[in-house]
Each structure stands twice: as structure tokens, then as C-alpha cells.
Amino acid sequence: MAVLQQQTVDLLKTSEKELAARWITDLEASGSTRNLKADEIKQQTTEFLRLLTSVLSEGGAQTIMAAEWEEVRQFLEKLSHQRALAGQDSQQTAGFIFSLKGPLFAFLQTEYADQPVVLAEQLWELSQLLDALGMHTIRTYQKSREAVIKRQQEELLELSTPVVKLWDGVLALPMIGTLDSQRTQVVMESLLQRIVDTGSEIAIIDITGVPTVDTLVAQHLLKTVTAIRLMGADCIISGVRPQIAQTIVHLGLDLQGVVTKANLADALALALRRLGLTVAKAAV
């Protein structure tokens, strides 16, 4: 692998200011600066060039994963993290590095106008280096985005399983959305904990908002029902819509030992009856 010549590094150093100016122009032309402040871009570009030239002039290692590049990597990580949070897309983020190629190559071309072989070699070197840095930026950007998505998923999970107290001793859990293993786990834990905390004898799981019931969902429901029974409370499943009832029968699912009701009102009525309570119209 060829190495960057000292002449190239010197060129970078001497024309740092001009390079930064052209780079910003290119960035603006490609639309990568949308939603970003001008002075912020200016500061970031100058900072990056400064870091880059300082590593290169120390004879920087060949792979950007080496310790010498630590500072540059950290700078890029911070930058892509910020952009991910600011809602910029991956093209804009990666464009930050890739836009440097244009002005940089133009400078090299004038510098090595009479040495085409060296020019090609140096271009290849710098191109590889910038590509690696660009890929690193995208990788971190992706990671930051994934972290954001994961956090949102977790928040959604928490939000989507509220345990409601319907009556003294009666808890209800309106389920909305698809039931998967992870959600069932969260649902089960929060419901069981509430049963212990409130000493409720009856728990109603309302599945009106569950779009489909397949064998897996039924298995999850059965698990929850069994766990509730083991704790010493009773469980009623309500909100079994006609289509869902048909699906359950067609799949041949065994829901024996589970009390099911068509709607939440029926379930509450049953719960009150079990607790020995009656609801009566007030005498006028």
C-alpha cells in the first residue's frame, strides 16, 4: 500500500483555509447543510480539517481504526450522533465527508499537474481514507438512529400496557396492538405486580384492540392466565370479537379453563357477581 507523500500533507496544511471554504460551498450545493447553522458548519469543517492534517502530518496509521485516529473518530461519532438526533438523513450525514473529495482532488490536481502517476497514487490514497471515514460516520449514524428507535419502542411498550382498576378488587388490562413474546412478558409482569400491590382477586384482560389471534397469541394469553391463577387470583378474558372467536375455533385452540366474555361490560358484571356485589338503579 502506497503512503501519502509529505508533499500532499503539506499541501493540505497550507491550503486548509481555502479548502474549508470550497468544502462549505460544495456542502451547500449538495444540500447537506439544510437545517444546520452556517457557523456550526464552518466550525465543524475547520475542526475536521485540523484533526485530519494533524494526524496525517504525524504519519498517520494505515487504518482509521488505529489509535492515532481516535480523535478523528470521536469527532465524527459526535457529529453523526448530533445529526441523527437532529433528524438529518443518512445521505446528508455521509455527504459531510464525501463532499470534501471534490475540492481536495482539485487541489491535488493542480499540485501534481506534471506527475500523473503520483497524482493517481495520492488520489487513491486519500479517496480510500475519506471513504473509510465516511463509512465510519454512517455506521455511527446508524447506531444512533437505532438507539433512538429502541428507546421509542421501549417507551411504547410501557405506554401500551396500562393496568386499570375498575372496582375494588377488580383490575382490567386493555390490550391494544399485536401481542408478541416481549409484550406479553411486560404485560404479565405489570399485571401480576399490580395484583400483588392491590390485592385484587379478579383481573380482566380485554383483547378488543388485538387485531388477530393466532396460536402464538393464544399461547401467550394462556400463560398469563395460568400465572394469574397461580398467584391466587381469577382471570377473565373479554372483548372476543366474532372473527376472533371464529379464528380460535378454526385453529382448534384449547381455551378450556379460561373464562371468556364478549365484552368488557359482561366481564365486569361477572366480576361483581363473584365479589357478591349487585348494581341496582337508585330509587327515585
Binding site: 400463560k223 400465572a227 391466587g232
Partner: protein
Amino acid sequence: MERIPILQMGDYLLVTIQVDMHDQLALTLQDDLSERISKMSARGVLIDISALDMVDSFIGRMIGMISGLSRIMDAETVLVGMQPAVAITLVELGMTLPGVSTALNVERGMALLRERAHVQ
């Protein structure tokens, strides 16, 4: 040797598991309990596991067996105060303890036992 105490309350026996169950302890409890039931012809057994926060498949099976043997000796058995984590573990282990009566706490467990005794 370490033993789990078995308390007598009228016609009923009360077993409170307050230490971590290990295998030998569970076996001893099984022996002791069957002895006591036959000696005093108890009508009901209440097993309180509210302090138990960890189970494995063996302890789960032992709990099921203790409940089962009490029932065979004509004593109603109620398991009370199971912690959520324990319930989830047992379900995940596939041990649903069929035929074992459960209640939320000791008070409700006693009420359930008395109710059953009256029916008989």
C-alpha cells in the same frame, strides 16, 4: 437439622416457607407434613410461599407434590402468596400446578379453606 415449622391452627395446618428452599428441605417438609396430617387428621393445609422469591423446577414439582399428597390424605390444600416472579418462572417452566388451589394471601386462603370445609 434445618426444618420448616408446621403450625397448627384448629383443624388446619399452616406452613410458612420463609427461607430459601433447597432440595433436602423440601423433601423433609414433605415427610413432616404427611406425618402431621395423618397424626391430627387435619382438614386443611395452608402453604404460604410469599417469602419465596426463587424457584427451580425441582422446588416447583415439590410444591405440586406436597399439595397433591395433602389432598390424597383428605386435607384441602391452598397455596398462598406466590410472588409474580415465581408465577412467571413456573409458567415458563411449564409447571401450571393443575388441581392446586391458590389464594392471594393467608387471610383469603383461610377463608377458602373454611368455605370448602363447610361444603363437605
